[in-house]
Each structure stands twice: as structure tokens, then as C-alpha cells.
Subunit: 342 residues, 2 copies
């Protein structure tokens, strides 16, 4: 009898612990890359000693000296949802990966894999949506690839966006210090709410929070000690990443959690942990306590729901102080969290 | 009765005229990008006024002043073939897109979309192969993304590679001048031969020509007026692109065509035009006549089959002078050329 072959499981792509393990397994093969020290957080960083850089509508002309490079694959269901579509999410995702590192995006590489028979009208909507994000953010599509595959080789459309950006200073995930406060840029998890509601025919007014974060982050970049957008694996995954990389404990308070009533309700109805709900246009950051008020004031001009949600303490892990006086550990999500929505 | 919806056809992804039309249609939506002048050939070019750049094992330290950025999606069948696999082809494809523009690649972004149930053993082979190309070429994987999708959402595995590179001087496709000679870096189309043979159970010793071209091109870069790797759409597509962009006519001679006997035989057997056969580790270039001999001598050290295959003349289009004294126009491939093999 043949030994059963091990196969890749769905939960290895869900942004939790199994994902990290799959990625480690893959990286073991890249000897050259391991020697390279600048594979950071959401993107790679190259030090440039540059002076003048030609960029479109970005106004980055002097003293930018780091190149940031990132890539992200998007295969989502549904491809159209309240507040956006796969094109918008792909653009925002990559622009945000650059933005949370403190970079200003200067160009996007757009790779489309389209299934034969995909409606032209739907493709048109998606590329119009990509064009809209490009126009609004001022980030051009500078290179791309378009493939069409036989029916059944792909489900409708897959988009991979890659991006390059320039930064004066990189914001990492390892810079959180004891005493810092934790800020959320708005209510979290609403991308998940919009997509899950659509999939389960649940009535809600919540739209995806999908948007670019460059201006928001640039406006407070100098105050941030760590920054990350809670996409796959949600707030649980990113706060654990910051806590682990910064070697600190993060403590949240239940009465200041950044979730709307609708998010809490849908989470309870479906039995899916709201801490694992992805956002596509929000970030969480740590800020030095003296600068927290100033940073918060600026962020609230972009989003009135921006608020302080916790503090950085000595220790490790992420914990929630409940309203009843208890303490609950917030773990990295395990297993298949939710349907593939980002 | 509902009007029938227009859908995307398979041939729109085959690298021929329909592909160009689909890409134009997509680009119409990108207003910001149209204002941006540096979307070139196989990648985007950013002017950097830089002096010192930290790069891994590349030795590019001074006077590099252009950033080249490119992306490419790979969904191929079969994923393992004589001479390589989807991982090797994805790495070589992106490294070569940078290389044909005269750039030295400094980092690769690797995005994997894997179908649930894909054998771990196969994934291991593919990532080992990616690691091997990385090690041999000295180009690190610097960023990436790994997604796992439900069964049926993708066929086995899709890889999108993006890359950044640095160049002192960009080699374009528009620089060919009347009087230049056309050089092929070796026999062409053997990636197609290897994959088609495997798919149709045809016996051949030909292996895919899949390899990186950085060293080869860098060694003759100063002599080249235009350069391109004949992947999708093969030699027919790339020579037409050079002729069109350079506003010249390219004339080939039948007795110096860069095809092996096996390639010609398989082309005839399957009734697929050999001029449309993709290579994944070859290039065609135009060279000033005075420097042709020197360039050819250097290239023949890498590949004994490197040879002069034609000349650049006033006019437009690509033509073949046949052995019988006739002339045949070589058009951009139309329709579905061959199964998806690159």
C-alpha cells in the first residue's frame, strides 16, 4: 500500500500559525535570501544613497534613501462586495504594505490571471476600480502582466500586486517599547463583516473598510514606534507579531475595543472570533506616550473612530482585560479562520 | 432575451494581437499611469540619482542610477517538465525581464497561490528549484506572499514573481538602427519543444532552455541597441515588437534560422508555427555591425549556437528570405498559439 502523501492544507494559507510554519518551510530553501538581512515585516528594504528621484505626483524629491519592495496575491470570494472589489483590495493591500513601513509608494506592478469566459464587463469594473485607487492615491501602475487560462484552471480572476516605495525612515514591527500606547486608526474588521455578510446573505449597512493608508500614516509617521495593518489573521495576528518582534506584552481593554456593534453581532452569530477579522484600510500602531494625544488628534481627522486601545507592558503575548475584571489571552489565529476574503 | 455577454477569450492571453488589444483596453483605465512616461518594454524604469547601493553578492556599488521593476504571472501545464518546473521558469522569467533591459536584478518578490491538497513533496521540489536559481544567480528572494485556496479555485499552483534591478544604462526595444545585425543567443523555442513533447508524449532529447541571462547580457550589454527575450509569442512577437518600436524592418535568412532539427520537426508535426515557440533562457538582440563579431564571440562562449540571424533595414515588419529566393512575412502570432506553457 502506498504511503499517503502529505498535502497542503487550507488552513496553511489563513494567516495563522500554520501559515507561519508553511512560510518557514518554504524559506528554508532560499539560502541566498537568508544571508540577506533586509527581509522585513511587509516588504524588503534596500538602502539607497540617492539624492533625486523622479516620481509621479508624489513630491518625493530629496533625502529619500530607502527602497521598499513588496508583493501580495489576491484570490477572493466574492470578487465584488459592498465597498469594493478584488481590484480595489489588491491595490489597497500593496499600497498599504508599503505605507505601514513608512514608505511612499511610487509604482505598482499589476499581474492578472483571468479565466477564459470571464465577463468583459466584470473585468472592466475591476480595472476601473484599480484605476480609481491609482488616481486617488497618485500611485501609477508602472508594469504588469496579463494571462488568460483555460476554464477551470482558475476561479474567475486572481490578482497579484507588487509595489515599490521610498522611505526616509522605516517603521518596523519591532520598535514597540514598554510604556507606549496602542492606537487603532478606526474600527477594525469591517472588511470581513462586509464580505461575510454578503456571503451568508446577512443584512448589514457595514461596507468594507478597504482604502489606502499612505496619507494617514505619513501624517503621523514620526510618532510611530511600530505599525501594521490587520489584514489576514486580523488584529490578533498583527498585535502578536508586534509583541513578539518587539519583545513586549500588549494589553487591551475590553471597553475600548475598536469594533462596531454590527461587527460584534456578526462575530457572535457566525461563531468567528472578531479579533481574527481582516481589515483592508486600517492600521494599529504603537506610539510613545507623550506623543499619543497629538497622534490621535491627527488620526481622528481622517477617521473619528481612531482611538487608544491598549498599552505596551513588560512581558510577552497579547492580553485582553475584560470588563468583569478577568484577563483573556489573545492568540495568533489557528486553523481555517474564515472563508478566503483577503 | 438577454443580450449575450462578451467574455474574455483564451487567445487574449496568448501573447499575440488579441493580447495586445486586451492590455490596451485595461490600460485605458489607468490615467495616472499614462502620464507616467517610464512604462517600458519588460519593466518600469525609475531614475535614481544614487551613489551607493547595498546589494547582495552583486557587486553593484557605484554609479547605478536606474531602478527597473517588473512582474510576471506563471500558470503552466505541466508544472514539471524536462529541464525545469514552474518555480524555475518563474524565477528565470523575472530575472530575464530585468536582464534584457540591461539591469542587474537585486531582489525577487515571490507570490505563491497553492491549491488545497497540493502534494507537499511537489511544493518542496518547486521551492527547492526556486532556491537553486536564486543561489546560482545570486539574486535573493526578498519578499513574498503565500496563499492557499479551496480545491478547484486554482489548478495546482500559480506563481507570480516580481523583481527589482539596477541598471547603468537601459537597453530598450526601440534602439535598433538600419544596418544593425540581429543576433540570437542560441537556438530558440526549446522551452516550447520540451513542454509540447511532454504533453503530447512525443519522444525528444530536447530540454527546456529555461535559464537566467544576466551574465550573458551584461557581458555584451554595451554593444546592444535593442534586446528582448522571446517568451510568449516567441521570436515572431519580439522581432515584430523591436521592428515596430524601432521603426525599422527586420530581415531574416532561412538558412541561418536559430532552430534545431528537432524543433523544426515538432513544429511541422503539430502544425504550430516555430516562430511562435517560446524560449525561457534565450534572447535576440540588435548590434551595431562593427561590434557584431566581438559580441558574437563573447556570446558563443556561453552558447555555441549563438549566431547572426538577420539584419535591420529601412521599412517596417519582419520578413524571412527563403532558401528558394522568396520572401515571407513573419506576423505577430494571432489566436491561441499553443497550450499555456509560459
Amino acid at each position: 500500500m502506498e504511503r499517503e502523501k502529505k498535502t497542503i492544507e487550507l488552513e496553511s494559507g489563513a494567516g495563522g500559525e500554520k501559515s507561519n510554519s508553511l512560510i518557514s518551510q518554504i524559506r528554508k530553501n532560499f539560502a541566498v535570501s537568508r544571508k540577506w538581512k533586509n527581509m522585513q515585516d511587509d516588504g524588503a528594504v534596500f538602502d539607497l544613497g540617492m539624492n533625486n528621484v523622479e516620481t509621479p505626483r508624489q513630491g518625493v524629491s530629496t533625502a529619500s534613501n530607502k527602497l521598499v519592495f513588496t508583493t501580495d496575491a489576491f484570490i477572493v470570494d466574492p470578487i465584488f462586495f459592498p465597498g469594493g472589489d478584488i481590484g480595489k483590495i489588491a491595490m489597497c493591500g500593496t499600497i498599504n504594505d508599503l505605507s505601514v513601513m513608512g514608505a511612499k509608494p511610487i509604482g505598482i506592478g499589476l499581474s492578472l490571471v483571468i479565466e477564459e469566459g470571464f465577463p468583459e464587463e466584470d473585468l472592466q469594473k475591476i480595472v476601473a476600480s484599480i484605476g480609481k485607487v491609482s488616481a486617488e492615491s497618485g500611485v501609477p501602475i508602472v508594469t504588469g502582466d496579463t494571462k488568460v487560462t483555460e476554464r477551470g484552471k482558475i476561479d474567475k480572476i486572481e490578482i497579484t500586486t507588487s509595489g515599490v516605495g521610498l522611505a526616509k525612515k522605516i517603521i518596523g514591527n519591532s520598535g514597540a517599547k514598554v510604556g507606549d500606547v496602542v492606537i487603532a486608526s478606526g474600527n477594525l474588521g469591517e472588511h470581513a463583516v462586509a464580505l461575510l455578510a454578503k456571503r451568508f446573505n446577512y443584512q448589514t449597512k457595514i461596507k468594507s473598510d478597504c482604502q489606502t493608508l499612505t496619507r494617514e500614516i505619513q501624517s503621523v509617521a514620526k510618532y510611530l514606534t511600530a505599525c501594521k495593518d490587520p489584514t489576514r489573521g486580523g488584529m490578533a495576528a498583527v498585535l502578536n507579531e508586534i509583541a513578539e518582534k518587539s519583545k513586549v506584552k500588549i494589553v487591551l481593554a475590553e471597553n475600548t475595543l475598536p469594533f462596531s456593534k454590527e461587527t460584534v453581532a456578526l462575530s457572535e452569530l457566525l461563531g468567528i472570533d472578531k479579533f481574527s477579522f481582516p481589515s483592508e484600510g486600517r492600521f494599529v500602531a504603537t506610539v510613545q506616550p507623550k506623543q499619543a494625544k497629538k497622534a490621535l488628534q491627527i488620526l481622528q481627522k481622517f477617521n473619528a473612530q481612531a482611538k487608544i486601545i491598549g498599552s505596551v507592558e513588560p512581558g510577552k503575548g497579547v492580553f485582553l482585560n475584560t470588563s468583569l475584571g478577568g484577563t483573556k489571552k489573545i492568540d495568533v489565529p489557528r486553523g481555517k479562520l474564515i472563508p478566503r476574503i483577503c
